[in-house]
């Protein structure tokens, strides 16, 4: 564990100034992932900036939808009436993640920045291109049962671990970011990255930028979040599916399907959703096939392809029910 220094920010401006004054610094809120990473020497920030005093913990409603402060805890978000009523998909996804204790601590902004649970990433005795660029990827030919089947590269086959983000992807959320140059609004689709040859970068956040909020556009979707994992609770997804449907009787008017546990970011494919429009449930398997097109299995994770297809169909059917 690195011997870091620590300061506490009392405003967003102060936080940004602190970050600028301490290159390589990390913001800390709930710490539910960062503290683990510090302990195992994977995260080595020389300075931590506590942002928990910032006034970013409100959930507010406007004509444009709902705005969620970056410091709203996963628990508060999941149980908030606005979310439960209008975005039950998001509430389901949040409650499928972690444990009650962790959800009480973990924040919305922090959840967006969760790092992969790839075994090798967490063990500094092993090579890992994400942790130590250029060192190699033992997962390619090693214990890759939990790894990516879509969008991976020869440099990294890690998957994004968040449940919340899979729902946000289906809901077309926007991440609001503050930098010293001003505010940025990043669509969730563009927030996380595929590994390519820079797997060390999980997302497109600039150094020193601070997530202040997540915005959800108004929706009228019937949602369902299905998470498949190795035990009934407190395990990361092998495959998860966030679906949202608008139905006219049996006919699909709008569809969203996002996958978790299969790629370096929550996975969506417009063509698969387009395919469903104007169709009934008979088209669900074809949409599933299309979403998994091009999936590339590794030695131990080929099952994820079939599992994902079946999970997509099940989630869509459950949303219809």
């Amino acid at each position: 564990m690195i011997d870091f220094s620590f300061s506490r920010a009392d405003s967003v401006e102060h936080a940004l100034a602190e970050a600028a004054a301490h290159p390589g610094a990390a913001f800390i809120a709930g710490g539910t992932n960062l503290v683990d990473l510090l302990k195992v020497d994977v995260a080595r920030p020389p300075h931590l900036i506590d942002i928990t005093r910032l006034k970013l913990d409100a959930i507010t409603e406007s004509a444009d939808g709902v705005r969620i402060g970056a410091l709203v805890s996963n628990a508060d978000l999941a149980w908030h009436p606005l979310i439960r009523e209008r975005y039950p998909l998001l509430a389901q996804a949040l409650l499928a993640g972690a444990s009650p204790q962790l959800r009480n601590m973990a924040t919305t902004g922090g959840n967006l920045l969760q790092r992969t649970r790839c075994y090798y990433f967490y063990d500094v005795a092993t090579p890992c291109n994400k942790r130590s660029p250029g060192s190699g990827c033992p997962a390619l030919h090693g214990q890759n049962r939990i790894h990516a089947i879509l969008g991976a590269s020869e440099h990294c086959i890690a998957v994004h671990p968040s449940d919340m983000c899979v729902a946000l992807r289906a809901l077309d959320a926007v991440v609001v970011v503050q930098t010293r140059a001003g505010e940025q609004r990043i669509p969730i689709a563009d927030f996380h990255r595929l590994p390519g040859d820079t797997p060390e970068r999980d997302n497109n956040l600039e150094p020193g930028a601070l997530i202040t909020a997540v915005e959800l556009p108004p929706e009228q979707l019937r949602g369902h979040y299905l998470k498949l994992r190795d035990r009934a609770s407190y395990a990361f997804a092998l495959v998860s599916v966030a679906v949202g449907l608008q139905l006219d009787g049996d006919v699909v008017r709008d569809a969203r399907i996002a996958l978790g546990g299969v790629a370096h970011k929550p996975w969506r494919k417009r063509e698969a959703e387009q395919l469903l429009i104007g169709k009934t449930r008979e088209a669900f398997p074809r949409a599933a096939e299309l979403l998994l097109e091009g999936a590339q299995p590794r030695a131990l994770n080929a099952f994820k392809i079939e599992l994902a297809k079946r999970a997509i169909v099940r989630a869509l059917e459950t949303a219809c029910a």
Partner: protein, 693 residues
């Protein structure tokens, strides 16, 4: 007053609930220093250079490596402990060789844990790595007989010939991966350094006297200079049967610095020593058309380290549990670049019975005989391995009472025939068995004039309820109110006791406490005492009488699973465990033992898997995020039955011990239920959803 057999609450419960029960890493002292272990980054090879210059920060007191360690003895026997096996025990920091992944290669001692941990990250170690082999599958053909087997396999008759002539035959291979004990409390040792150099050590152990003897032998100390305490142990399950390396390192550092030192391992480091060995098994059963066994062949290949032959009794159960005259048993080891495996709850039996009881289920299906009926057809009235009668065996009652409670008679024998809410429902069962052992144990009873009775013996309470049952036995036997009884355990200075393992503590320490309290009672019967009374005994098992019999605990385990037919998700919805465990001293703590073991059985069947990366030679899922054990949501109904079983041979109290039996057979019952639900026979644990797609 009758106290034995009553559901008394744990006498140490309030201390634990209040946080007043202190564990090995909680003992403290002003000026206590903190050690942090540096774990090897390679699996096999040698350390070329250790550069500690960047780590010499203010407050860092010592960086111990093989280059600057104190003199240590050369002979293996100095490092042997009560649970050591044939070979050379691992010696921390003895030389620059690396023998297994995450081997301790240095200890950084500093004023605070955080500083020690930080400084450890600044130590630069250059290794030269050598080729390693840590994958059992790659060594399948390299099996050899163990040098000193725990239980030499005892074949009888001519099983190969009998098998060839059998009307029905089942051949199958089963595999259980390496699993790590992972008690809640990580291993830790706090060494308090006395002015005269005497050491008071709070150690995580299942045998304070074992740790004491080890420290004396390694460091050339006299027993009176070393006192080891383990008053509370946060689970151990076998991981505390041998002194682990943090003890050696903490003592080494304390003696070098002449100061008190604590070394606590991280959860990741809990994957760097003993474990249940990855084991491959082949079972062949031959039977008549009606299911009567005509041949049993059980062969096992288990991993061990290159420096010790760890062996356990995996296959002998297959010669004991069912009546059959032609039995072939083979048990071999393959040497790998891993740490030596270690006894883990019901060592050997959990593995062997998974294979045997799965194979029995395969035979039941093939023969078209009900699985319970098949076991009754082949019921062993006599232990054919030892060629002795059982001192008691209420296994028939386990089958009958377990089946009745479970509702087994409602079972449709066809796979995939039962459904509920869109889920496939499966019912499976299996038998469990474990030895009923006892060992010589000493105990002391001191009755003060104020009426307080203090009972002491050096054995531990690893969470099993030892404090409580000993208090019950003492109070009832001596005729003293329960609230006047104090029990002292977990201290090497107390009367001699063996390791707490093998399920023998209740029988052994119980016998000693009963005996010493009988002496006290006899004195009290003469009239009210005028001075403090003091008795000490050593209770020895009646070897001659017990030697005429075979003694074992048995169980019948019934499991229900629900499997999603499309998604493969598996839920163990119900387990009934019927136990024949002799006399039950405390139904409350006994039930808790069995329930905990069933939960572990669910974990073994569906979750636990220490994932070895063969290329790196490391277990890669070494934390609780990725090494899965059941959470509350995985555990539904567990019903425990203790059938009536009288046994006046096995131990003076008629006690057989319950520490291990609860887990044996659970994984097989679940795997058999999965077959019944899905028609899929999963022979390699854990049963994860990908195997059921």
């Amino acid at each position: 007053m009758r106290l034995i057999g009553q559901p008394i609450r744990r006498v140490d419960g309030p201390l634990k609930v209040r946080g007043d029960a202190k564990y090995a890493a909680e003992a403290s002292q002003d000026g206590l220093l903190h050690g942090y272990v540096i774990s090897s980054a390679i699996t096999r090879g040698k350390i070329e250079k250790i550069d500690v210059s960047a780590a010499q920060l203010d407050g860092v007191r010592l960086i111990l490596t093989h280059e600057n360690r104190p003199h240590l003895p050369w002979f293996d026997k100095k490092y042997k402990d009560d649970d050591a096996r044939a070979g050379s025990p691992f010696r921390p920091l003895y030389d620059g060789k690396v023998r297994f992944a995450a081997q301790p290669v240095a200890l950084v001692v500093a004023d605070t844990l955080e500083l020690a941990r930080h400084a450890a990250s600044l130590v630069k170690i250059a290794y030269s790595a050598e080729e390693h082999e840590a994958d059992l599958h790659a060594q399948r053909e390299q099996g050899h007989a163990p040098k000193e087997p725990q239980a030499p396999p005892q074949s009888r008759g001519d099983a190969d010939r009998a098998l060839a002539r059998s009307a029905l035959r089942v051949h199958a291979e089963y595999a259980v991966p390496a699993e790590h004990h992972n008690p809640m409390e990580c291993h830790a040792s706090t060494v308090l350094y006395g002015e005269d150099g005497a050491l008071t050590i709070y150690d995580k152990t299942q045998g304070p006297q074992n740790s004491q003897q080890y420290v004396c032998n390694v460091f050339g100390l006299k027993p009176e200079q070393v006192r080891v305490l383990a008053p509370f142990v946060g689970g151990a399950f076998g991981s505390g049967l041998r002194p682990q390396y943090q003890l050696n390192l903490a003592v080494m550092a304390a003696r070098e610095l002449k100061q008190s030192v604590r070394v606590a391992l991280t959860r990741q480091q809990m994957f760097s020593f003993g474990h249940r060995p990855h084991t491959l098994q082949r079972v062949s059963l031959g039977a008549r058309g009606d299911g009567k066994l005509t041949a049993v062949v059980h062969e096992a290949l288990a991993e061990t380290s290159r420096f010790e032959d760890y062996s356990e009794n995996v296959v002998n159960w297959s010669g004991m549990l069912y009546q059959c005259d032609d039995v072939k048993l083979v048990y071999e080891l393959a040497d790998l670049d891993v740490f030596t495996p270690l006894d883990m709850r019901a060592p050997g039996a959990t593995l062997g019975l998974f294979a045997l009881e799965s194979a029995l289920d395969e035979l039941a299906h093939l023969a078209g005989v009900d699985p319970v009926q098949l076991r009754l057809i082949n019921y062993a009235e006599r232990d054919q391995v030892k060629d002795k009668p059982f001192s008691s065996k209420a296994l028939r009652e386990c089958y009958a009472e377990g089946a009745a409670r479970f509702g087994w008679s409602e079972r449709n024998p066809s796979p995939r025939s039962m459904q509920r809410d869109g889920q496939l429902i499966g019912w499976g069962m299996a038998t469990g068995v474990w030895e009923a052992l006892s060992q010589a144990t000493s105990a002391r009873a001191v009755l003060a004039l104020d009426g307080t009775l203090t009972i002491s013996t050096s054995t531990t309470d690893i969470g099993t309820g030892t404090y409580t049952i000993l208090a019950q036995i003492a109070a009832e036997t001596a005729g003293v109110p329960l609230e006047k009884v104090r029990v002292e355990l977990g201290d090497s200075s107390l009367p001699k006791a063996p390791l707490q393992g093998g399920s023998w503590t209740a029988a052994s320490a119980g016998a000693a406490v009963q005996q010493v309290c009988q002496q006290l009672r006899a004195e009290l019967d003469k009239g009210p005492p005028s001075k403090e009374l003091h008795f000490e005994v050593t209770s020895e098992p009646d070897k001659e009488r017990q030697g005429q019999y075979s003694s074992a605990t048995h169980s019948a385990v019934f499991a229900e699973v629900a499997v999603d037919p499309q998604l493969g998700t598996l839920q163990v919805t119900r387990v009934v465990s019927a136990i024949a465990g002799g006399r039950i001293l405390n139904p409350k703590t006994a039930r808790s033992q069995i329930e905990g073991a069933v939960v572990w059985g669910i974990g073994m069947a569906t979750h636990e898997h220490s994932r070895m990366d063969g290329a790196l030679g490391r277990y890669v899922n070494h934390d609780f995020s990725e090494y899965h054990i059941p959470v509350q949501a995985d555990v539904r109904e567990i019903d425990v039955i203790f059938v009536d079983e009288q046994d006046d041979v096995v131990s003076p109290l008629g006690v057989k011990g319950l520490g291990e039996i609860g887990i044996v057979g659970v994984a097989a019952a679940i795997a058999n239920a999965v077959f019944h639900a899905t028609g899929k026979r999963i022979r390699e644990l854990p049963i994860t959803l990908d195997k059921l797609l």
